[in-house]
């Protein structure tokens, strides 16, 4: 049981993520989480103002069910399958984050400094969450996929467009973390 309650090592986790992709392909579907954002736009009537959202979203119901499952999975994992162990971060990371004003790094999944109630009620904190969401939503659809669609499915099927997209993910991520985050915090 300890093995399940402790954080799982990367060499177990990676193949299990590939298993999610394989199961969906076995069921005749493709692993891609960002498509759900387009489906949700369509459900809310975005097809009236933009052709991109004019499609039969009911065919995507299975993927919305995956989302529902993912939410439940997140709940089960934290409520029943976890102990008090904290994320085993590099001490250099912790020190560095501390100097940027992030306390108790790794004791939670996301920093309170960004997601806590105090951050939410400050204009800056709220703006960062909204901005991050906008970038993720806009960027994934522009690139035609996110980590699941391009990095996992696309690279596993050896597709060049996905390689270009993943290189883009990393260019963007490296610039944000190394150059922009230190300016924000």
């Amino acid at each position: 049981m300890e093995y399940i309650l402790n954080p799982w090592p990367w060499y177990i986790s990676g193949p299990l993520i590939a298993l999610v992709m394989a199961l969906l392909l076995y069921f005749g579907k493709t692993f891609g989480m960002s498509s759900n954002l387009r489906t949700m736009c369509s459900i809310m009537g975005a097809g009236k103002t933009a052709n991109f959202f004019k499609f039969n979203w009911k065919e995507q119901t299975w993927n919305l069910i995956v989302v529902l499952g993912a939410i439940i999975g997140g709940f089960i994992a934290t409520q029943y399958l976890s102990n008090d162990s904290i994320t085993n971060l590099n001490p250099a990371t912790i020190t560095e984050l501390q100097s940027m004003g992030f306390e108790n790094s790794g004791t939670t999944l996301v920093p309170n400094e960004m997601y806590g109630i105090e951050a939410l009620t400050s204009p800056k904190g709220l703006l960062l969450l909204v901005l991050g969401g906008l970038l993720v939503g806009f960027g994934t659809r522009y690139a035609g996929g996110c980590t699941s669609g391009h990095a996992i499915t696309g690279l596993s099927s050896l597709q060049k467009p996905s390689l270009i997209a993943v290189i883009g993910f990393f260019i963007g991520g490296l610039i944000m973390t190394n150059f922009i985050l230190p300016l924000i915090f």
């Binding site: 799982w8 090592p9 990367w10 060499y11 986790s13 990676g14 299990l16 993520i17 590939a18 199961l23 076995y26 069921f27 005749g28 579907k29 960002s34 954002l37 949700m40 736009c41 975005a46 103002t49 991109f52 119901t61 069910i65 499952g69 993912a70 939410i71 439940i72 999975g73 997140g74 994992a77 976890s82 590099n90 990371t93 984050l97 790094s105 999944l109 997601y115 969450l129 909204v130 901005l131 969401g133 906008l134 970038l135 993720v136 806009f138 960027g139 659809r141 522009y142 980590t147 699941s148 690279l155 596993s156 467009p161 997209a165 963007g172 991520g173 944000m176 973390t177 190394n178 922009i180």
Partner: protein
């Protein structure tokens, strides 16, 4: 019942991403600072296992539930949309520490402020859909 299997896959996906810490903002930060191998190990072994699965299924050994060949849709050729869209997504991913799967999973772990991120991501997707014809692809 036809959707029940997808619910189970989703639950499994959520559990794996929490237990692997791939939903941790700190792990994403660490990855982009090259301070840990953890995320590279996860993504690397996921892709390696995925390649293996698809190569085996290409030989017709594994069929889909309906008996058809395992099929991964081809992405259209292009460059601009992948690199520019990718960079924009990368900015957001590193800032909020979550991509479109983990956003929902984190909501399930009790981080309710993620609703703001999800709502903004839906709006971001809408903006793309509204102006897509004006963008280079």
């Amino acid at each position: 019942m036809k959707y029940f299997k997808f619910l189970l896959v989703g639950i499994f996906f959520g559990i794996v991403l929490v237990k692997s810490e791939a939903v941790s903002w700190y792990r994403i930060y660490e990855m982009f600072r090259f301070q840990s191998f953890h995320m590279y190990g996860i993504i690397g072994t996921a892709i390696a296992s995925g390649v293996l699965f698809l190569q085996i299924s290409k030989k017709g050994i594994i069929k889909s539930i309906k008996g058809a060949d395992i099929f991964v849709p081809k992405k259209e050729n292009g460059f601009s949309r992948y690199i520019i869209g990718g960079i924009i997504f990368g900015f957001g991913w590193a800032l909020i520490g979550a991509c479109p799967g983990p956003m929902y999973i984190l909501l399930g772990t009790g981080i309710y402020s993620m609703i703001i991120v999800i709502a903004a991501a839906i709006i971001g997707t809408y903006i793309y859909g509204a102006i897509k014809d004006k963008l280079p692809h």
